[in-house]
């Protein structure tokens, strides 16, 4: 038989430019059903205390964990940040013990309460080299989008899906449409990845990226360090996106290289050769494209109960009449809940306390940025600083950051989700106002009746020093 030349349309097909999402999706798709749903392979599955429902479902079926070597447990959501030796709350002790029991029964590696590698799941994954470009990573926590900063397909799932991954190491998923948010230009002094994220969410809305996989691109994204990229991808979910991702580059490789679970030797070379292909091709089509001028972004603060209710630090709180019609009722309710008035400047809003931590902004770089503001100064309000992991805590202490926080009057505590979600008992009291480096300002998120203002760690530090929401750019670095 004569060899058949490939028909011309095949060539066009083969050369069709693809997005980063297309490439990652194709590499993980096992099977696609007629209705368009794909069965996807999961490379890393991260579980925490909150995964108890999923383990219970698994037990009810009498099923085993399909791939224990790809499943890692982390104690973070419920862990006390003080007095760990003797946990007083029986519910919390039970949650941690249940995770330990499940990890042991299924032979999973656990970064448990007393492990020196313990920390918040989305901090520990990258830190341990479990998070790599080109992987699919899932966890029963919506901020799993954080890992997309490495050019991974990473997203949060619910308990039924966690049970499914445990039992099969796969997940049924429809490929989302791709959206690209390009930050052109450079960030100004005192402006961070947190402000980029709050900025785009304020502009497009809390469901502005609904159902999309967002790829971040542009000079300002390239310029971010890995910590900043993780912050940006982390907050994707707050804009409605399921995934956030950034193409890997030399900074990504440098971050990953040498980490405990990362590839070594020949495997490393093979990995880098493959990772270099994980870029969106020129002219690849996106369902939606947004361009944002990075140099116009100011430090940004939320004033309401949705992350979209955010303004630049030099702005006034919006007039209700000036808002789009479908946002007015929510704004009115938010003003009422937050005890704020439309038209007042956001700067100068007094705060009762501060919190620095979480998977959004609890990394070493974040602690350094906050410490740079607090150094030699006193906080006017109390506050808590909880590093993203025990390793970050140790490194921060080696750098003397703990002393800066403590001398300023803040409390330096162990690592966990802590006041991001309050499950461990670190709560904001009803009616109290907290400047927080976390990710959600929902009603009651930090405790019943708590009032949360989201901002960057440096802005939180500035708020601590002044006792009110303040433009960090006016404070300089002492």
């Amino acid at each position: 038989m004569l060899p058949f030349p490939a028909p011309p349309f095949m060539c066009i097909f083969m050369e069709k430019p693809s997005t980063l999402l297309d490439k990652l999706w194709a590499d993980h798709e096992i099977f696609r059903r007629d209705d368009g749903t794909s069965l996807m392979w999961v490379d890393r599955h991260l579980v925490h205390e909150g995964s108890h429902h999923a383990f219970a479902k698994l037990a009810a079926r009498g099923a085993d964990v399909a791939e224990p070597a790809l499943t890692f447990g982390v104690a973070d959501h419920y862990v006390p940040t003080r007095g760990r030796a003797d946990i007083k709350d029986p519910d919390i002790a039970r949650m941690i013990a249940t995770l330990e029991k499940n990890a042991q029964a299924h032979g999973l590696t656990l970064f448990g309460l007393r492990d020196p590698r313990q920390g918040i799941v989305h901090v520990v994954g990258p830190e341990q080299g479990l998070t790599l470009p080109g992987l699919m990573i899932n966890c029963g926590d919506s901020h799993t989008s954080t890992h997309g900063a490495f050019g991974a397909l990473a997203f949060g799932i619910g308990a039924t899906e966690v049970a499914h991954v445990l039992a099969t190491q796969t997940l049924w998923q429809r490929k989302p449409p791709a959206m690209r948010i390009t930050f052109e230009g450079d960030l100004g002094f005192g402006v961070t990845a947190k402000d980029m994220a709050l900025g785009w969410i304020a502009e497009l809305g809390a469901d502005g990226a609904r159902g999309h996989a967002v790829e971040y691109a542009g000079a300002a994204v390239d310029a971010l360090d890995m910590a900043g990229r993780m912050t940006l991808c982390n907050l994707s979910i707050e804009g409605g996106a399921r995934f956030g991702m950034i193409a890997p580059d030399a900074k990504t490789y440098q971050y990953v290289k040498g980490r405990a679970f990362a590839p070594k030797g020949d495997d490393w070379d093979a990995a880098v050769a493959y990772w270099a292909t994980l870029r969106t091709d020129a002219n690849a089509p996106f369902a939606s494209e947004v361009r944002i001028n990075a140099s116009a972004i100011a430090p940004t603060v939320t004033w309401g109960t949705s992350p979209e209710q955010a303004v630049p630090i030099d702005a006034d709180l919006p007039d209700i009449a000036a808002l789009p019609k479908d946002k007015r009722a929510a704004a009115e309710a938010a003003y009422d809940y937050m005890g704020l008035r439309p038209g007042a400047p956001v700067a100068g809003t007094p705060v009762d306390q501060v919190f620095i931590g979480s998977c959004t902004n609890g990394r070493l770089e974040d602690l350094r940025a906050a410490a740079a503001i607090l150094k030699g100064r006193k906080a006017r309000v109390p506050g808590l600083v909880s590093p993203g992991s025990a390793l970050i805590k140790a490194q921060a202490e080696a750098e003397g950051l703990d002393a800066i926080f403590i001398l300023a009057g803040l409390e330096w505590v162990a690592s966990g989700c802590s006041m991001c979600v309050g499950m461990n008992g670190d709560l904001v009291e009803p009616g109290k106002r907290c400047a927080s480096s976390t990710n959600r300002n929902f009603r009651g998120r930090q405790g019943l009746g708590s009032r949360t203002h989201l901002m960057s760690p440096a802005m939180v530090a500035a708020a601590a020093v002044k006792g009110e929401i303040t433009d960090v750019r006016t404070m300089g670095e002492t």
Binding site: H53, A69, S142, T160, A206, G422, R445
Partner: protein, 197 residues
Amino acid sequence: MPGWTRHTGQAVHLPLENVDTDQLIPARFMSRPRSDGYGDYLLYDVRRNDDGVLSPDFPINQNAGASILIAGGNFGSGSSREAAVYALVDAGFQVVIAPSFGDIFSSNAVNNGVCPARMSREGIARLTDAMAGTFVVDLEKRTINSDIATVSFELDDSWATKLINGWDDIDLTLQHADQIAQYRAQRSKQNWAWPQN
């Protein structure tokens, strides 16, 4: 989980935007086992006054028997906590109608037999014009009938099939064991993609 095609029930209108899963079930209840029943935790803080008493004018408190929730946009945004759906199910809800949903909430809902029906704001206005009487939700036709209006909603085909058949994904997936094994064999050759240590 039993499948269903048509559901008849009473509806309740909760005209709030961005009802996130932290509101649907506050974090402090999430350590409880499901067997305790999660119905009482649904919107626990939102449906109470400051003094902790159920507010008599909160819609859900007025319609104890409702099984269809008509909500505002971006319903179920935020945390992936499936407990938010457990609270809805245990409180008797089988259908939630909203202009848009949090993505993870929608898949969690379907995994628990709850239909997340996407409907335009105009459609919702037509339904909520007259809330008395019963509503019929039809998954095949993707419509909701009240005494005075028939309004269509959107629902992903694969989700409709799952709800109608009451499918459990794990059983479905195990039918693809060969394909999974094949993929795994390929993936195994890519050493770098496996945790070293």
